[in-house]
């Protein structure tokens, strides 16, 4: 019975359910504790640091031989701003680490941190991108000409010509406020010092153990062989843990310097103030449509507030440049002129967060479609039907090639599931009764599973993408799969086991997947960007095929048959059409302990390695939100949410649906609840979970998920990757639904989160205009 495609229970779960599984904060026994003294100001000169007598306090001056974090894009419009791991003579964001203190316990470390006095001379901070772009703005980074630290333009060169055929040009201005991935588990690391070997083993809550190892060794001038990095169970990450935190590097330095084991467990306040933020975009876009309501051109000016420093390794170019490259989404048009700028400010550095720029660019395109629908007197389904890509492969105006997807089919199916006509009747009745219901659509493609071919054009100094899998069968017939991906909730151990079990005809229990430990796994890029099932899965499939070849060769020797005639099923190798066969456990023993009985050309043992480095694929989905807006309070209730998703072959449908549901809720949060708020002085006002608002079970609707299945050869396993999709399409669906609900009042939502206060303000302003 095939396991791929079946919704089996996860192998990861028993340890997690019983509380046995160890997360980073569970691994601190025997360690001293590190706390960081952080800047209370957004911009200041460090005048002096006073530390208590005899205390274990370390500043930049103590960290000899430590380099700066310097992620690089090799392009002329990229400004390099090396980040010291501890502030040297100035601080440029609130929460920036200035000193590290060491004590026996975290409690005492915080006491000690309180006793360190940092004398700061305050500068006026630059907080918003708008302020940073002003002509007379202070420059955040000395040596930079302006606060624009990365920029790009894509121009197909024919905008003026195409615009002439346009009958309607729609201008939109859209804002997505700053967000925090806010995983329930904060960051943290434990650096264990081994006296015998003088090596440090770093357990780190991270999405990318190998890259972390290389990066820290670069900074500290260490040999990689002297640093083992292990990602334990990680309690959620969503992109916040896929960049190098200065704190992890400082921890390793301290452990080596002091020759002691040390732990740093971030607390929630630190996570809100100093852990990577995300989003914070402002777009102006113009869409030109012809007389048939077909989009013919997009122009845009995209601005991203990218914070004080560039995140390693993907850099602060990742959001604005991805926005520029992927704004076209699933729409069929070829004229394009878009400029994107990343603007540095005295705010927390940014890292990617689930969806990266796509939740915002999807908002932009989906608002554009809805506004155009209204202008042309079409319904939102029809305008999309006219504009979605239908022929594949499709090359976008920005040069990205889409493999086959089901954009229109997903839209039609979603419209059918949600029964738009029936909704419109309900909506009209509700309006008679003074209630405001709305429906919002969002269609998007999600670029997933892309390897170095996709990363290379970005000219990152570090080009991620491939994955390697090492597989070996032991003398007892068990298979160990060692992967470079680093799952943290995605169920990859289960899904890869399904692939291997099917490929080798073995029961699930025979397969072990090893991940997260740089000493035990091949170099890999970790888990992010919806890549693991596609790339690590593809490498796993290839490795399983190669291992299969080795197995059937030995079987052929043992059964005196041709390898092509051997079938592997149910833990046995059998000659097809006969009852002659051998148990895999016996076969494995033969391959290791009885090699003289095999053909002379056989290599001893059973091993295989494979790498996979695809160009990438695109999954797609249509999201539909049905909302009710309470126009007196501005409160929005999402009554229903429908997803029609095409992620190719689903290795484990239950895990797929879980990823979608989780992403949708984060997207609803993006649309309605979550915002990191700075005041004019660069102080963060949202430092607790009372102020930053991840939704609870009571704020979310039932989420109905349907699947289409388009298999392309862009992914070896047939799976398309989908970890982020839920978060990409949902904000636009909700914002469109709110705008639809408020259409009678003339309100269009252009900002998220669309908080009750903002909605009320828009209603007040619109009703004033109407009076």
């Amino acid at each position: 019975m095939k396991l791929v495609g079946t919704p089996i229970r996860r192998r990861e779960d028993p340890e997690l359910l019983t509380g046995r599984k160890r997360f980073i904060a569970d691994l601190t026994a025997g360690c001293q504790s590190v706390a960081f003294v952080r800047s209370p100001m957004a911009a200041a000169q460090i005048v002096g640091i006073e530390r208590p007598e005899g205390a274990s306090v370390f500043t930049a001056a103590d960290l000899t031989g430590v380099g700066s974090i310097e992620p690089i894009l090799h392009r002329p419009d990229y400004f390099r701003a090396p980040q010291p791991v501890l502030a040297v003579d100035r601080v440029i964001y609130l929460g920036e680490p200035i000193a590290a203190v060491v004590a026996d316990t975290r409690r005492e470390a915080e006491d000690l941190a309180d006793a360190v006095y940092v004398d700061l001379e305050r500068h006026d901070p630059v907080v918003t991108a708008k302020a940073a772009l002003a002509d007379n703005s202070r420059i955040v980074h000395p040596g930079a000409e302006s606060n624009v630290v990365v920029s790009g333009v894509i121009d197909t060169g024919d905008i003026d010509a195409t615009s002439e055929s346009a009958v309607e040009r729609i201008e939109l201005e859209l804002t997505c406020r700053r967000q925090s991935a806010a995983p329930i588990e904060t960051r943290g690391a434990v650096a264990r010092y081994d006296e015998e070997s003088e090596k440090v083993t770093l357990h780190a809550s991270t999405q990318m153990p190998h890259v972390l190892r290389t990066a820290i060794c670069d900074l500290l001038g260490m040999q990689e062989a002297d640093l083992r990095v292990i990602a334990p169970a990680v309690g959620g990450a969503f992109g916040q843990k896929m960049c190098l935190p200065a704190e992890y590097a400082v921890l390793v330095w301290l452990a080596r310097h002091l020759r002691r084991s040390l732990a740093w467990i971030e607390d929630r306040r630190e996570n809100f103030t100093s852990s990577f933020h995300s989003r914070d975009h402002h777009y102006r876009i113009w869409g030109s449509f012809d007389a048939d309501a077909r989009l013919v051109a997009i122009e845009g000016d995209l601005v991203a507030n990218v914070g004080a420093y560039s995140c390693y390794p993907v850099t602060w170019g990742v959001e604005p440049l991805m926005a520029m490259a992927e704004l076209p989404g699933p729409y069929d048009f070829q004229s394009y002129r878009v400029r994107a700028r990343g603007v540095s400010t005295n705010t927390c550095p940014m890292s990617p967060y689930r969806g990266v720029s796509r939740p915002v660019l999807t908002l932009a395109m989906e608002r554009m479609m809805d506004v155009a629908a209204e202008r042309f007197g079409l319904d939102p389904v029809e305008i999309r039907r006219r504009n979605l890509i239908t022929r594949f492969p499709y090359r976008s105006a920005t040069g990205i090639v889409y493999d086959e997807g089901s954009y229109v089919a997903s839209l039609e199916k979603a419209a059918e599931v949600v029964d738009v006509d029936s909704f419109r009747r309900r909506q009209a009745e509700a309006r008679e009764a003074g209630r405001f219901l709305g429906i919002g659509f969002s269609v998007f493609s999600e670029r997933t599973g892309y390897g170095t071919p996709a990363f290379a054009p970005r000219n990152m100094d570090v080009t991620p993408g491939y994955e390697t899998v090492e597989m070996a069968m032991d003398p007892s017939g068990g298979v160990e799969v060692r992967i470079g991906a680093s799952p943290h909730g995605q169920g990859l151990v289960t899904t890869l086991s399904q692939v291997v079990a099917d490929g080798l005809g073995l029961p699930l229990e025979s397969v072990r997947v090893v991940h997260g430990d740089t000493d035990r796994t091949p170099y890999g890029w970790g888990t992010f960007a919806s890549r693991s099932m596609v790339i690590s899965g593809g490498a796993t499939k290839l490795a399983a095929e190669r291992l299969r070849e080795a197995i059937v060769a030995v079987a052929g020797d043992m059964l005196e048959a041709a390898p092509e005639d051997i079938e592997l099923a149910e833990g046995r190798a059998v000659v097809r059409g006969t009852d002659r066969g051998v148990d895999i456990s016996d076969l494995a023993r033969q391959a290791y302990h009885h090699t003289p009985k095999l053909a002379p050309e056989r290599e001893p043992g059973l091993r295989a390695t494979a790498s996979y480095d695809p160009a990438g694929t695109f999954s797609n989905a249509c999201h539909v939100a049905v909302v009710e807006v309470d126009i007196e309070t501005g409160g929005v209730r999402v009554d229903r949410f429908v997803v029609v998703e095409d992620a190719g072959l689903l290795i484990n449908p239950v895990i797929v649906d879980g990823q979608i549901a989780g992403g949708v809720v984060q997207g609803i949060a993006n649309a309605l609840f979550e915002e990191v708020i700075y005041d004019d002085g660069g102080n963060i006002l949202t430092t607790t979970l009372f102020d930053y608002l991840p939704p609870t079970a009571s704020e979310i609707p039932p989420i109905e998920i349907h699947h289409l299945q388009t298999i392309t050869d862009a992914s070896l396993t047939g799976a398309k990757g989908l970890g982020e999709g839920g978060a990409i399409g949902s904000p636009a669906a909700v914002i469109n639904a709110v705008s639809d609900a408020l259409r009678p009042l003339g309100v269009q939502v252009t900002e998220m989160p669309a908080t009750p206060d903002r909605i009320r303000r828009m209603i007040r302003e619109a009703t004033k205009e109407m009076m």
């Binding site: 309070t633 303000r761 007040r764």
Partner: protein
């Protein structure tokens, strides 16, 4: 986020607790801890000592004495999920109790603790103010009875002195002819109210003879909306009158501004929720 060090005492009698409060400089009372301990974990407050009153007998429980409900300060929020007080007041408290945080908060958090903490968005503070509760406080020197109108000074600040322990809160019972309504708006279930309104009206033959309208979350302390109340008094109990009262309420408040709501927004909520509370009182 670990708290600063403190000394810890767990008195087993009221006398002991009050003596400790007097003698230990800078001590704070630990009751439910659901508001105090987060503040301590953030090091926003660093008491040098905590006097844990959870083992002091006689401080919890609800007694009915004539037309008064006497609520022991240590009574947990949970207790009010059932009607422990007769009549409309009991029903009102049940409705409000479900808005107090979440279940685990209500298991530990106390009625008196909420009042002593004086968060302007706390439900029991609004209830006490609206119904003109009397706070009974004790110190080693004296017992005081403080009317609710004198109890709340500003955010997190009350008339409690350093040595005082709030031991009991007395609420007037409401006769069966009273209508009671409560309406709260918060961002998520369980969050502090952005604005909340209590309406208590005595209506005889369709006419309002007595009205109380309390607003919480609007200002630095819970408020009585006297102008809105004046609109209701002597008028028909009727949606158009509720709307007028709502307008008066909107005009009389001077809301605070914070990241969850602007001045105008809270004003909008005051108006909307007054009407909703009135409607709920009718149902």
């Amino acid at each position: 986020m670990k708290p600063a060090a403190f000394d810890y005492f767990a008195p087993e009698s009221l006398t002991e607790a009050l003596t400790m409060l007097r003698d230990v400089e800078g001590a704070k009372v630990l009751a439910g801890g659901q508001s105090l301990v987060p503040a301590m974990n953030f090091r926003l407050t660093r008491p040098v000592a905590l006097i844990d009153i959870n083992r002091v007998p006689g401080l919890d429980g609800v007694r009915i004495d004539g037309d008064e409900a006497q609520i022991g300060a240590l009574t947990r929020h949970r207790a009010f999920e059932q009607p422990v007080v007769p009549g409309p007041l009991g029903r009102l408290m049940v409705e409000m109790a479900h808005h107090v945080g979440h279940l685990p908060i209500r298991v530990r958090g106390t009625f008196g603790g909420s009042l002593a903490h004086a968060d302007p968005a706390a439900e029991w503070c609004l209830l006490a103010r609206t119904l003109d509760a009397t706070m009974v406080t004790q110190s080693s020197e004296q017992e005081r009875r403080i009317p609710a109108s004198d109890f709340f000074s500003t955010v997190f600040t009350t008339a409690l002195e350093e040595d005082d322990l709030l031991t009991e809160v007395r609420l007037p019972l409401l006769g069966t002819g009273h209508l009671v309504g409560f309406s709260e708006f918060s961002r998520r279930v369980g969050d502090f109210a952005l604005v909340m309104i209590i309406v208590v009206a005595e209506v005889q033959e369709g006419t309002v003879t007595e009205a109380r309208i309390g607003a919480g979350g609007v200002s630095d302390i819970p408020l009585r909306l006297s102008s809105a109340e004046a609109v209701l008094r002597g008028r028909r109990w009727d949606p158009s009158v509720w709307a007028e009262a709502a307008e008066a309420g909107r005009a009389e408040v001077e809301p605070l501004e914070d990241i969850h709501g602007s001045v105008e927004y809270r004003r909008d909520l005051v108006g909307a929720l007054i009407q909703r509370a009135c409607r709920q009182a009718t149902e």
